[in-house]
């Protein structure tokens, strides 16, 4: 039977299938961070197990870390404790560790690809739902819980039923000011926040073929926000070009051998999907969310829909708008904002900073806006400086912070205060996600930049020249 890309990668990692149960699924690469791993190490030790393949696990500190003064001791004792636990566990079990201050440190889903840990055809897991990011390379990558983190440490496998398969095709050309983030938010708005539950998604079509690796990562990153276990894109020349020569990618004869395998990683013409959707690139405009889940998004120039015919039922919908202090039919354009956040594993890469700078260059930050610009890794910082983007940022009245998850999830010092409205390039607008009582509008780096200079929600197309 003709195979999909997903079938090829999945089937080659099944150690055995349990009768009427899950597959024993082998994991090539395991990322750990400070939040979801300490209890796994405790479990491992209490059972008297050891880490079976320490060279397959990679540790980085990101969720809890401050984004200023990283050279000083971490002030919050609980955060410091978790960061210490990660470092100690890594050391004790022979796992490579990129702690705060390390030149390779950054957000797990940014540093993995940058260092060549993420490879086509690999299976990758991490105790973090946005592990789906790595699917951009033709890997099967998804988030797991702490029990599973312990499972991978002690056996290099998890027990996982094979998900169903969905293909999402987007064909045509994207319009001016429409970015990969908009493509993802558009798809999620169509699928709803649960539309792909139980599925693994392959993204196909012109739009993804034309997209940069950074853009593909943004799209795959957000797969989880429509309920999918993960998303993936078939590797191509662009993929191989991106990974070649990175510190941990195969070299020499190993590279040639790997390439032979990677070139087989595509969906065969007559392979079957359980579900398939087609969207037209020309229907997509810069997007913004208005509610409290990522499925509640729309074109930035549109008005908030009325309760009739929305996903989640009228009661849930009204609760959501109540939390946001918005009303049905409100226009988003022109709404005054308080914060802008550029960063996160969704949009903390170099391309996102280039996009942001394309708007703010020669303009000034609005006085009413507090902006946090947070690169995803030290390598991104280096690129920002090398390309002179730091000067554009500073001249426009912004300040660049140090790498980390920052205001994506309110686990570190960067929290949006209660009631304040933030245009954020992060991945979730859940109640309190960016701080108790905070209100989040998810958007692309272009929408964030335009809103940061105007002080109100702004269509970036009004500030761009073709």
């Amino acid at each position: 039977m003709a195979k999909t890309l997903f079938d090829k990668v999945w089937d080659s990692h099944v150690v055995r299938s349990v009768k009427d149960g899950p597959d024993v699924f082998f994991i090539d690469r395991h990322f750990i961070h400070e939040v979801t791993s300490p209890v796994a190490f405790l479990g491992l030790e209490s059972r008297g197990n050891s880490v079976v393949y320490p060279e397959r696990t990679f540790a980085t500190a990101d969720h809890n870390t401050p984004t200023i003064n990283q050279h000083l001791p971490v002030e919050d004792p609980l955060s410091a404790n978790q960061l210490d636990a990660l470092e100690n566990n890594a050391k004790k079990h022979g796992i490579s560790h990129w702690g705060l201050g390390d030149k390779n440190n950054g957000i797990v889903h940014v540093v993995g690809p940058e260092n060549g840990i993420t490879l086509p055809g690999a299976t990758i897991v991490c105790g973090d739902s946005h592990t789906s990011t790595h699917g951009a390379f033709g890997a099967i990558a998804f988030g797991i819980g702490t029990s599973e983190v312990e499972m991978v440490l002690s056996t290099q496998c998890i027990m996982q039923p094979k998900p169903k398969k969905m293909r999402i095709n987007v064909n045509g050309k994207l319009g001016l000011g429409v970015t990969p983030k908009d493509v993802a938010l558009y798809i999620i708005s169509k699928q709803t926040t649960s539309g792909a539950t139980g599925y693994f998604v392959e993204y196909a079509g012109d739009v993804f073929r034309d997209m940069s690796m950074e853009g593909r990562m943004t799209v795959c990153n957000l797969s989880i926000e429509m309920g999918a276990r993960g998303g993936m894109i078939a590797p191509d020349e662009k993929t191989f070009e991106y990974i070649k020569g990175r510190s941990l990618t195969p070299k020499g004869a190993d590279w040639d051998k790997a390439m032979k395998y990677w070139e087989t990683l595509y969906t065969e013409d007559d392979a079957q999907f359980d579900e398939e959707f087609n969207y037209d690139a020309s229907d997509i405009e810069p997007m913004i969310t208005y509610g409290t889940n990522p499925g509640m998004g729309m074109g930035v120039t549109k008005s908030i829909p009325t309760a009739a015919n929305v996903e989640g039922g009228a009661e849930t919908y009204k609760k959501s708008l109540g939390y946001m202090s918005f009303s049905e039919g409100d226009s988003m354009i022109g709404k005054p904002i308080d914060f802008v956040f550029l960063g996160s594993c969704t949009n903390g890469r170099i391309e996102d900073f280039r996009a942001f700078c394309s708007i703010v260059e020669g303009r000034k930050k609005a006085d009413n806006v507090t902006a946090w610009l947070v690169p995803g890794s030290h390598k991104v910082v280096d690129q920002i400086n090398a390309e002179g983007l730091d000067k554009i940022i500073t001249d426009a009245g912004f300040v660049l912070r140090e790498p980390g998850c920052s205001a994506c999830l309110a686990m570190n010092d960067d929290k949006i205060p209660a009631g304040k409205l933030s245009v954020s390039t992060s991945n979730r607008n859940f109640e309190g996600r960016q701080g108790p009582g905070s209100r989040t509008l998810l958007a692309s780096p272009l929408v964030a930049a335009a809103s940061a200079v105007e002080g109100v929600v702004t269509d970036p197309r009004t500030l761009l020249t073709a």
């Binding site: 150690v15 009427d20 090539d28 029990s147 539950t197 989640g312 109640e431």
Partner: protein, 199 residues
């Protein structure tokens, strides 16, 4: 991470008829800083359960005396979406719940529940509505969750529905086993497999 065996559970239930309840609500990120699994019940639904001054919100179902001690939570569709934090499943368990019933679960949350001894029971939207209606009409409504027979029943009326669970996971829940027990038993097979991986 052992848990108590699950066989047949008969209990009243907390109703939470809200859709898309995400794991950031079940336990907000600021409470994930522990390095041990202790006391996750304290911040279970923290921001929905308490006012900012720390006083309980009287109208939130988990605070209502009439449901106190229930071991089942009936939630709205797409329960447990968002973050993969297993802390959410721990907080369900630590709060004293052994079963969550919904017409749809998010995948990772469902998997986490099964791994920590919380049974996720997926029912039809119609049966979920029936459960909500019954609990709203009478908070003392008892629900029987029979894992061996894969059946959930409204005790008062006898109305019931079957639910799915794969045989392997069912066996684990019935015996209090987990995946690591299984995987450690086939260590040699796994290491032979690992040898064949190209990278």
């Amino acid at each position: 991470m052992a848990y108590d065996k699950f066989e047949v559970l008969t209990s009243t239930a907390y109703p939470l008829p809200i859709e898309n309840v995400d794991t950031d609500q079940i336990i907000p990120a600021r409470f994930l800083k522990a390095t041990e699994r202790v006391d996750f019940d304290k911040n279970f639904f923290r921001d929905w359960r308490y006012n900012q001054d720390g006083t309980p919100k009287a109208d939130f179902p988990l605070n209502k005396e009439i449901y106190a001690g229930s071991k089942i939570l009936v939630g709205g569709r797409n329960f447990g979406s968002g973050s993969s934090r297993e802390h959410a499943a721990w907080s369900v368990y630590d709060f004293g719940l052994r079963c969550v019933i919904s017409s749809a679960f998010a995948d990772i949350f469902k998997g986490n529940c099964l791994n920590v001894g919380v049974l996720p029971v997926q029912v039809s939207p119609e049966f979920a509505d029936k459960l909500f209606d019954a609990i709203m009409a009478d908070p003392k409504t008892e629900i029987k969750v029979d894992l061996p027979n894969q059946k959930v029943t409204l005790v008062a009326t006898g109305e019931s529905e079957s639910f799915d669970i794969n045989a392997y996971k069912k066996d684990n829940m019935l015996n209090g086993f987990d995946d690591i027990d299984y995987l450690k038993n086939i260590e040699n097979e796994i290491s032979a497999f690992a040898e064949t991986r190209p990278f």
